[in-house]
């Protein structure tokens, strides 16, 4: 009886959460790109309630928050790869008004991208073009187009802003871009179908997921050597999204086909825990305080909230259709 009363109270509290309030009491908002419903769901992290749905006019995939937290960038594309249309680009959402305020062109079929830490530039992968495109985020102007591998996908910028890594799924490669000169200075051959890449907070390591290889490749960013290849679920996982905790101690890998989040000790590279989340998690992110990990689950149309201290799912939030990526603004 008492348990029932507690759960009733919890749901009352959820219903009572003010939906119009622009920022939550914790100051944390979670933004989810929905590929099929062409919009972005906004979740108040204090209540785990969806407080807004923002239409973005195309397939919404890669999503990131600007370093100052005022903007959310969303990669959008039409349903026709190989041709660039007005929908192909980066939609700029204003966090305060929750509206699309601009759309920048970044070449055809943008999928993933990274914003450099000072917020000045954005690098996007062009899936059908074998290129990555850099733009200036103040002006929206094209800065550079770089030839990378075939079917480029994952993009990450190093914490010092010096390097941008781009994975290419068909070439099984990671292209290393010097962001000062905007040139590709090297390429690494990694495991099969590299989907995403993330840097450690100190920039010494890069972690690359290989979806078909079923592994996480660990790169020493200084020597550019592959230092380890970590099997995810015994090599049978389908790792896609990857994020490193702000303290650098944990690496979280979302595995699409197995519906799991693997928690990896960044020092020993051992998988500490495998957490069952929703169906086909691809995007994954972590709050800035390192407390919560969020996965975008494309086939269950929801977001799983994992408490990073207990590695347990503490919330499941229904969002739009085919959620792809997730980003957090605020602490």
């Amino acid at each position: 009886m008492s348990i029932r009363a507690v759960s009733l109270l919890a749901s009352c509290a959820l219903l009572a959460a003010p939906a119009h309030q622009p920022t939550s009491s914790s100051g944390r908002l979670v933004f989810v790109s929905n590929e099929a419903s062409h919009d972005v769901s906004v979740i108040d992290a204090a209540t785990n309630a969806v407080v807004a749905r923002i239409p973005v006019g195309g397939r919404a995939r890669g999503i990131h928050v600007s370093p100052d937290g005022s903007r959310v960038y969303v990669a959008t594309s039409d349903d026709k790869p190989q041709t660039e249309s007005s929908v192909d680009g980066i939609a700029i959402l204003d966090v305060a008004s929750k509206k699309v305020v601009a759309r920048y062109r970044v070449g055809s079929d943008p999928e993933q991208f990274a914003v450099v830490p000072d917020g000045s530039r954005l690098y996007a992968s062009n899936e059908d073009g074998g290129t990555a495109t850099a733009i200036d985020l103040k002006t929206g102007k094209h800065v550079a187009t770089l030839v990378v591998g075939i079917e480029p996908e994952g993009v990450a910028a190093s914490p010092d802003g010096r390097w941008v890594y781009v994975t290419s799924e068909t070439s099984n490669s990671v292209s290393l871009i010097d962001a000062r000169t905007n040139t590709v200075v090297g390429n690494l051959l990694v495991d099969l179908r590299p989907r995403a890449v993330a840097f450690s907070p100190d920039g010494t390591r890069a972690f690359v997921t290989a979806e078909v290889g079923g592994t996480l490749t660990v790169v020493d960013t200084k020597t550019r050597d592959i230092v380890s290849t970590v099997p995810i679920e015994g090599g049978e996982g389908k790792p896609v999204g990857v994020v490193v905790s702000p303290d650098g101690r944990r690496v979280y890998v979302a595995s699409g086909r197995t519906g799991t989040l693997s928690v990896i000790d960044a020092a020993t590279l051992e998988v500490i825990k495998t957490v069952a989340v929703g169906k086909r998690p691809w995007g994954v992110t972590i709050s800035r305080d390192g407390r919560y990990v969020y996965t975008a689950n494309g086939l269950s149309n929801d977001v799983s909230v994992v408490d990073a201290t207990t590695n347990r799912v503490v919330g499941t939030i229904k969002v739009g259709q085919r959620p792809w990526g997730v980003a957090v603004a605020g602490r």
Binding site: E127, D128, V212
Partner: protein, 249 residues
């Protein structure tokens, strides 16, 4: 040979990333091709006789024969050759796939349903991006033959990069390595069976439908979640126990 052309273009692009020379396709008679001292040979011929003749001629030259066209089971059985690798699914794999589709409630499968290595309507696991690339390049759908040729060239380029060699022997050795696996946009790592050099791969059961044929089943279908990709893929075709292949030492 459009599949091989796209494969060569893409493999060359990938090779240049790593400072390698790229992949060149040389076409001609078997004597002309072998005179070029090539590491690997593939053909557009589909007859069992032609494939067997080429397997022997190429094997004798020291190169690797990549069978991307012939489904015949004897090429993987009594007439198997250590220097021949089969990317095309065997007739037995295709028959097993159809059987599995029927067992799995697709009893209403029309008599003219068929199984094949690829279909232009596939979308999952990056199949859509590959189908789109092929269509954009040649203005044609990617057929199963085209996929087999594309994947053959892709895996040769990759084997060469990973083995750091363009030598036929080094490539053959790499393909035979237990750890060697490749991504063919089919969602699972693909590898060659040690007992007959047949590529493990999912195949697709396609039924005629209004408009265009439709993929109605992927074989092997879903199994126990704990099974490895290799265990799953070995559910179709010859097994280590049932094979009649004995590679000459």
């Amino acid at each position: 040979m459009l599949g091989a052309r796209l494969g060569a273009e893409e493999a060359s692009h990938s090779a240049t990333l790593f400072g390698a020379a790229g992949v060149e396709l040389i076409t001609g008679s078997i004597d002309e091709v072998l005179a070029g001292n090539v590491p690997a040979v593939l053909t557009t011929e589909v007859s069992t006789d032609a494939c067997l003749r080429l397997a022997d001629a190429v094997g004798k030259s020291g190169a690797v024969f990549m069978n991307a066209t012939c489904a015949d089971d004897t090429l993987r059985g009594d007439n198997c050759r250590a220097s021949t690798f089969h990317v095309a699914p065997s007739r037995r794999m295709l028959a097993d796939a159809l059987d599995e589709a029927r067992r799995n409630g697709r009893m209403s499968l029309p008599a003219d349903a068929s199984a094949s290595a690829w279909d232009a309507s596939l979308e999952r696991f990056g199949a859509d991006t590959l189908n789109n690339r092929f269509r954009a390049r040649f203005n044609k759908p990617m057929t199963a033959d085209a996929w087999c040729a594309w994947f053959t060239v892709k895996l040769l380029g990759e084997a060469s990069l990973r083995a750091k060699s363009v030598d036929a022997r080094a490539i053959g050795t790499y393909l035979r390595r237990a750890s060697a696996q490749f991504d063919g946009h089919k969602g699972r790592p693909l590898s060659f069976r040690a007992w007959d050099n047949q590529l493990r791969q999912p195949v697709y059961v396609v039924a005629p439908s209004v408009g265009a044929p439709k993929v109605v089943f992927e074989s092997p279908g879903s199994t126990t979640p704990s099974a490895s990709s290799r265990e799953v893929l070995d559910k179709i075709g010859s097994t280590a126990a049932s094979t009649t292949c004995r590679f000459a030492p």
